[in-house]
């Protein structure tokens, strides 16, 4: 990362925020504040909240502990879902990837069900697991499991035959082959799928938290902000979710870099 890149990144971000502030100032008084929403009018809407109202709303949300608690609760659900889902998905993917007979049977269903939007399961999960914590976590876990399963499965399938033959020729038994050849070679694919899955987990939570929606949760914070509607609240909620997605993405990237160290060493 050279200095030019950092400088340009900062210039780009500052320019974007200045543009927003300008638009908000220009829009004040000019944008409509009374909006028809299909069934009724809503009053006092700030379509582009100014700096000051964002700051006010932000300090209120932080001081009243609402934002922090919501972040903690939602993050906990996402982390749990990610852990459960990726463990199940990766194990299953490694299994079907390594055992070719299993794959032949599983393959039609893998190709078929990878296109089911996991959100569609939400009403079913409410019936199966109730309105509590488990249906939210399991919905995220399912979403994550599908993606990581595909990553692990294709990762194992993609290991060049030569590697395995070479290992076998050198006398490695199946377990050693799995540990020292298949697993490291499948790692990049698995880790890439984990990165995708972290993004999807946060998409899922926004909807999953509408199940028996209760206050400390980011999904309900957004839903409430939309129902009133309170735009500063809404934008702060969006920014918070965005920031969390960013943090998780960075963590996934770090994991990816750590898991693929062997590639750099080999090169």
């Amino acid at each position: 990362m050279s200095w030019t890149r950092v400088r340009r990144a900062v210039i780009g971000l500052v320019a974007a925020s200045v543009l927003y502030v300008l638009a908000a100032e220009l829009g004040r008084g000019r944008l409509p504040d009374r909006i028809w929403l299909g069934a009724h009018y809503v009053e006092n809407v700030q379509l582009l909240p100014t700096w000051r109202s964002l700051l006010e709303e932000g300090t209120f949300l932080i001081q009243s502990n609402i934002l922090v608690e919501s972040v903690v609760v939602s993050t906990r659900r996402v982390v749990l879902g990610l852990l459960l889902g990726s463990i199940a998905g990766i194990l299953l993917g490694l299994l079907t990837g390594a055992a070719s007979r299993l794959e032949a049977l599983a393959d039609p269903w893998v190709t078929f069900f990878r296109f089911t939007p996991a959100l569609a399961l939400l009403p079913l999960y409410v019936v199966w697991f109730g309105y509590g914590e488990s249906s939210k976590v399991l919905l995220i876990a399912t979403n994550v499991a599908v993606i990581t399963f595909l990553g692990a499965h294709h990762g194992v399938r993609g290991v060049p035959r030569v590697y395995l033959d070479a290992a076998a020729a050198l006398g490695a038994d199946r377990w050693l082959q799995f540990r020292k050849v298949i697993l490291p070679a499948a790692f990049p694919s698995i880790l890439a799928s984990i990165r995708v899955a972290t993004g999807l987990a946060w998409v899922t939570i926004v909807v999953a938290e509408l199940i028996n929606a209760q206050m400390p949760s980011l999904g309900y914070l957004l839903a409430l902000a939309g129902a009133y509607p309170r735009v500063p609240n809404m934008l702060i909620g969006l920014a918070t979710v965005g920031a969390l997605v960013l943090v998780f993405d960075l963590l996934a990237l770090l994991l990816h870099a750590w898991g693929t160290r062997w590639m750099e060493r080999a090169a």
Binding site: V127, V203, G226, M234
Partner: protein, 286 residues
């Protein structure tokens, strides 16, 4: 030979799954949790519109098929059919792809081809990309009113944002070398774009297209679950208005039918994308 064996395997696998499910449903014998296979089949028939024809009204069909299915009752009263819902959602997905793919691909090409644009715009892109599309539906509604916009824009956004990264890597990592060589030979402007940059980033873009498809379906259904009076998402949450969403007790049979329909539609669309992609990137295997 191979194709015949594959389809045979498909059939066996399909029958096996149905068999296992039927058995499991019978063993558990809790129709409110795992509805028996016959009930799913009748739900399928009713959702295709036959229930309405037979009963001449929601209530009749309701008695016929699902003794306690609130969801089915609402859906039939509102005249919702599976094929109509699927058509609406497919339309939204296609619109999202038609607008989102070129947007995302152009932005990705720009970032991949110009170092300067990459430096200035990539951080902004990362910030924007981090916002889940389903989270800003209400904000769009405030700007553009209660209409089609807040169901379409999330899909467009999701597709565009997903398409950027594969295109970017295609243009920067794969096409970069070719572009340099072509520049050295004197290629400029249109020639460079049409003959070098686009074809060379093609395979990566096709990968992105297939991934965008899955994301588009998910976003469209999610947006419909939250705020739409039609489409598959509406069918899944059992109709009704926004305030009562997710409050009525769902009928698992209806949801299973919906999921199967979505899986089939997504699968069919992906097969098309795969075939199209293979045609468009023939050069890569030549």
């Amino acid at each position: 030979m191979v194709i015949a064996r594959r389809s045979l395997l498909w059939m066996v696998s399909l029958l096996a799954l149905i068999g296992v499910y039927t058995l499991a449903a019978r063993l558990v014998s809790r129709p409110d949790i795992l509805p028996p296979t016959e009930e799913i089949a009748t739900a399928f028939g009713a959702l295709l519109g036959r229930g309405v024809q037979l009963g001449g009204g929601g209530e009749h069909a309701h008695h016929q098929h699902h003794p306690d299915s609130q969801q089915m009752e609402t859906l039939l009263q509102e005249g919702v059919t599976l094929q109509a819902a699927l058509a609406v959602t497919t339309g939204r997905v296609l619109f999202g792809l038609a607008v989102g793919l070129p947007l995302g691909a152009l932005f990705g090409l720009l970032l991949g081809a110009s170092r300067r644009a990459d430096d200035y715009l990539h951080p902004i892109y990362i910030l924007v990309r981090s916002v889940p599309p389903l989270a800003f539906i209400t904000y769009i509604m405030l700007w553009l009113g209660h209409g089609e916009a807040h169901r379409l824009i999330p899909v467009v956004y999701a597709v565009a944002v997903t398409m950027v990264i594969p295109t970017y890597h295609g243009a920067r990592d794969v096409a970069g070398k070719y572009v340099e060589a072509a520049r050295a030979l004197g290629a400029r402007g249109r020639l460079l774009l049409l003959k070098i940059l686009l074809p060379a980033s093609g395979p990566a873009m096709v990968g992105g297209l297939r991934y965008s498809l899955a994301i588009a379906w998910m976003t469209a259904v999610g947006a419909e679950m939250l705020m739409a009076e039609n489409g598959m998402g509406n069918l899944l949450v059992g109709g009704g208005m926004w305030s009562s969403r997710l409050q009525t007790r769902s009928d698992p049979a209806v949801i299973i039918v919906g999921i199967l329909a979505l899986a089939a539609a997504g699968w069919a669309m992906d097969a098309c994308a795969k075939a199209l992609g293979a045609r468009l990137t023939r050069w890569a295997r030549a």
